[in-house]
């Protein structure tokens, strides 16, 4: 299975600022996914990031708020822009491999 790292593991940010989360995979993967998990909730898919094309966003998520980069087959970033306390969540990246999906360790974001 793929080994995925995420940075930062946690952060506390002020309202109105932005945070960029990095996701690194130890092998080349076609599809990478970004999820959000709000306290006490299940996972919600934000977008799918394919290398060489624009990310595909799910309903309720927009590029201006959550810009995503995917410069190559092993790396992606998610930016949470103009943050508000409602953005406090765990953010997870994942990759699909042979039908299975593996997750990075997650980033716990708290917005004050």
């Amino acid at each position: 299975s793929a080994v995925i790292s995420q940075k930062p593991s946690r952060d506390i940010c002020q309202r109105g600022t932005s945070l960029t989360i990095q996701c690194q995979v130890d092998s080349q993967v076609t599809m990478m996914f970004w999820y959000r998990q709000q306290p006490g909730q299940s996972l919600t898919l934000i977008a799918t990031a394919n290398q060489g094309s624009e990310a595909t966003y799910e309903s309720g998520f927009v590029i201006d708020k959550f810009p995503i980069s995917r410069p190559n087959l092993t790396f992606s970033t998610l930016t949470v822009s103009n943050m508000s306390p409602e953005d406090s969540s765990i953010y997870l990246c994942s990759v699909g491999q042979k039908g299975e999906q593996y997750f990075g360790p997650g980033t716990r974001l708290t917005v004050t």
Binding site: M31, G96, G99, E100, Q101, F103, G104
Partner: protein, 111 residues
Amino acid sequence: EDKVVQSPLSLVVHEGDTVTLNCSYEVTNFRSLLWYKQEKKAPTFLFMLTSSGIEKKSGRLSSILDKKELFSILNITATQTGDSAVYLCAVESGSNYQLIWGAGTKLIIKP
């Protein structure tokens, strides 16, 4: 609308008990059903099921899929306190690895 429903939402048992977690689904283009264990932040992969009636087993955990009745169960025998976690069920619908997630079952094992 595609959906995945897990039950119960929470469960408290004593160490040594056997538990059965349920996952039912309604999706338009089923490809696979996956079980994950989430303890802190990242879900860790347990099983992927694609065929009906074939049990997958890993130690004290096992799972089976019924594609006719559209559900899966996850069994944990001889539970230990380390089994305490949220267990998530997800269904892959379509060909792009996107998963539809259930709300999870929070399992607490008391010593």
